[in-house]
């Protein structure tokens, strides 16, 4: 009997599940309100479209029939999708099985986790739901979002993901954190007021006001064409303000934590060693108050459409505080103390004004490139995060005996380009950077940043691949940083 049944069962499992690997029994479903939260926007769209259609055709009955049908079908589909989506830990990986007809089983390797975000849209906040996003390098937008979970589940899962990713026991509670920087509302508003977009908007608004007050009918009509643009600028500024509202940066043994948002909130966690590059930027008008912003490259964020939202480490901060944050983001390095070397005067042929600010410098941990006269930028890439190095020389540069060196990092807002160096020096930078990157990789923060080496060296630098590296000058810093009790006490 059993001999007959088993092949049948196996065949059914293989056929129905789409794989000979059924979802383990301990896997969980998402929050039951998920179909509602995912579906309401569609329903609203259907109502708007349907009512327009009904008005146009003058037949309200059609509307009364279509909308319930759409709603029932949509929620039925949403419910089925929810029913067939289950997640859980399978070995060391997080596995998400989903799909109604075409089953999909996706595994997320914990040691390759680049960041974990909890996103709470406004509707989700009202219902007590959050979305958990795991960012993995090279992934696209929908790499692995778990939408939606209850707030408690999301927090618990995040703690477990981070613990597993760090290489410690999965039931370790969430690590304590130490606030690093909070952006007060007045500064956030000030930074928006001093932005180019705002000034432009004000100028356009004043122009319209003057024309309306003084002018002829034809001119008023002409200027009114600018109003949608003005509204667009206003919406963008408002969006920017709402996005960075209540911006808090904190540090914990799990890495950096960012919390922000007015209506939709977002809590990001970027584990140690995941920041691939840093850029400190200063728009022209921020110079009045001495403010700067800091953007970072994190491998997982680049693939997602929300990259501009997620790659901000500090939206606005005074220079000296930003430098302190930089020192913490780049352990063992001090970007402010790296001596910068300007470019030769002949670079003015290519950058008539900009050559004054072009400079580069490097120490044993980071490479720094400075550029921009009006919009100042300081780009910093840790040697250990260098992907490749390129030397480029255009025809004019060749006559001037100059060349440009690019230090390539993972995609994101940070691009380290060292422009217009004297040609022989550029080649030296190229070779030296390749060498420095090689040395730095050996002592970089391991992917499982808290895992102790198996061979019992007893020190902080260990690699999950079993390559036990020698500890360097930076090791004591990491050891201290990775010790939770040391961080339990804020300040």
């Amino acid at each position: 009997m059993t001999g007959e049944e088993r092949p049948d069962e196996e065949r059914r499992a293989a056929g129905f599940r789409g794989a000979a690997d059924p979802t383990p029994a301990h896997f969980q479903r998402l929050h039951p309100l998920t179909p509602l939260l995912r579906g309401w926007a569609w329903l609203a769209a259907a109502i708007v479209f349907g009512s327009q259609n009904a008005i146009a055709s003058g037949d309200p009955r059609r509307f009364a029939i279509v909308i319930p049908v759409v709603a029932i079908l949509g929620f039925g589909f949403g419910f089925a999708s929810w029913w067939f989506t289950r997640y859980g830990f399978d070995g060391d990986d997080l596995r998400i099985d989903s799909g109604i007809f075409q089953r999909r089983s996706r595994r997320v390797r914990m040691d390759r986790l680049q960041a974990v975000d909890i996103v709470r849209p406004l509707a989700g906040r009202l219902l007590g739901l959050s979305e958990l996003r795991m960012e993995v390098a090279g992934g696209g937008d929908s790499e692995a979002p778990l939408a939606y979970l209850s707030v408690d589940d999301a927090m618990r899962l995040r703690a477990e993901l981070l613990a597993r990713s760090a290489g410690i026991s999965a039931d370790t509670p969430e690590a304590p954190e130490r606030p690093v920087h909070e952006v007060p509302l007045d500064r956030l508003i000030g930074s928006t007021v001093l932005s180019g977009a705002f000034v432009f908007g004000v100028v356009v608004f004043l122009a319209i006001a003057v024309v309306v007050a003084t002018g002829s009918g034809r001119m008023v009509a002409g200027m009114s064409g600018l109003i949608p643009g003005l509204l667009g600028v206003g919406a963008a500024l408002w969006y920017q303000l709402g996005r960075n509202f209540g911006f808090t940066l904190a540090e914990s043994p799990d890495g950096f934590r960012i919390r922000k948002g007015l209506l939709d909130t977002r809590a990001q966690t970027v584990p140690p060693g995941r920041i691939q590059g840093v850029a400190m930027r200063q728009p022209l008008l921020w110079r009045i108050r001495g403010w700067v912003r800091i953007d970072v490259d994190v491998a997982g964020y680049s693939g997602s459409s929300s990259a501009p939202q997620t790659s901000t480490l500090l939206p606005v901060a005074p220079y000296h505080e930003a430098i302190n944050v930089l020192r913490q983001v780049l352990p063992g390095a001090d970007p402010a103390s790296v001596p910068l070397e300007p470019v030769p005067r002949r670079a003015a042929w290519l950058r008539p004004i900009g050559w004054l600010r072009l400079a580069y410098g490097a120490d044993d941990r980071i490479i720094v490139a400075r550029e921009g006269v009006l919009y100042r930028t300081l780009t910093i890439v840790p040697h250990a995060k260098t992907q490749s190095v390129r030397l480029t020389q255009g025809p004019i540069q060749r006559r001037l005996k100059l060349a440009t060196v690019s230090v390539d990092t993972t995609p994101g807002p940070v691009d380290a380009v060292i422009r217009h160096r004297p040609a022989p020096q550029a080649r030296e930078i190229l070779e030296a950077q390749a060498r420095r990157a090689r040395l730095a990789r050996r002592v970089d923060v391991p992917e499982q940043w808290m895992a102790r080496p198996l061979n019992g060296a007893g020190d902080s630098a260990g690699n999950h691949a079993g390559q036990v590296e020698t500890t360097s000058g930076s090791a004591p810093d990491h050891a201290e940083e990775l010790d939770p009790p040391a961080r339990a006490d804020p300040g």
Partner: protein, 173 residues
């Protein structure tokens, strides 16, 4: 403007793009044949199109087409061998160096440990002249490590060597 018009004295030894060892590994001469064939094909297409357009619309279109074809032909025939000579690569202990470009010269250093994957491509035309393209990918899309015009054996050897070295020196992001 004096600086801009300085003489081109960099033809011979250019220290900036000097090879790490004795010499750059050149790529196959077949690349020149392939590119010439492609150029001739497009020139022929251009001439045919301009003759037809000239017959249908106005005679001067043929003239313009022929002039463009002639310029492209001369320019391409001169430039293709130069471009081919500009390609070069070198395998070092820890990284691969690739050099190319005539007008804008480029030199890339790609550490084996940073390699994410290697592509070997050989289209129908490339197969006919017996060459393949090897491309290294890192986590950065800006990485420019493409070597065209490798004989298939060399391409396979390079791919295997790069894959082996990449694994041996692999590092996390």
């Amino acid at each position: 403007m004096g600086v801009l018009l300085a003489t081109r004295n960099l033809r011979g030894v250019d220290q900036v793009f000097a090879p790490p060892g004795e010499a750059w590994q050149p790529v196959s001469r077949a690349l020149v044949r392939l590119r010439r064939a492609v150029l001739l094909f497009w020139v022929a297409v251009l001439i045919v199109v301009s003759v037809i357009a000239g017959a249908v619309i106005a005679w001067w279109i043929t003239g313009i087409g022929a002039a463009i074809a002639l310029i492209a032909l001369v320019w391409g025939l001169l430039l293709i061998p130069r471009n081919w000579r500009a390609w070069g690569y070198a395998e070092r202990d820890d990284d691969l160096l690739v050099k190319h470009g005539v007008l804008v010269r480029k030199l890339s250093v790609v550490p084996y440990g940073r390699m994410q994957f290697v592509d070997v491509n050989s289209g129908p035309l490339e197969r006919r002249v017996g060459i393949a393209t090897v491309q290294l990918h890192t986590a950065s899309p800006a990485t420019d490590a493409r070597i065209p015009g490798l004989p298939p054996d060399e391409a396979a050897r390079l791919r295997d060597r790069l894959a082996a070295l990449g694994e041996a020196r692999a590092a996390g992001l």
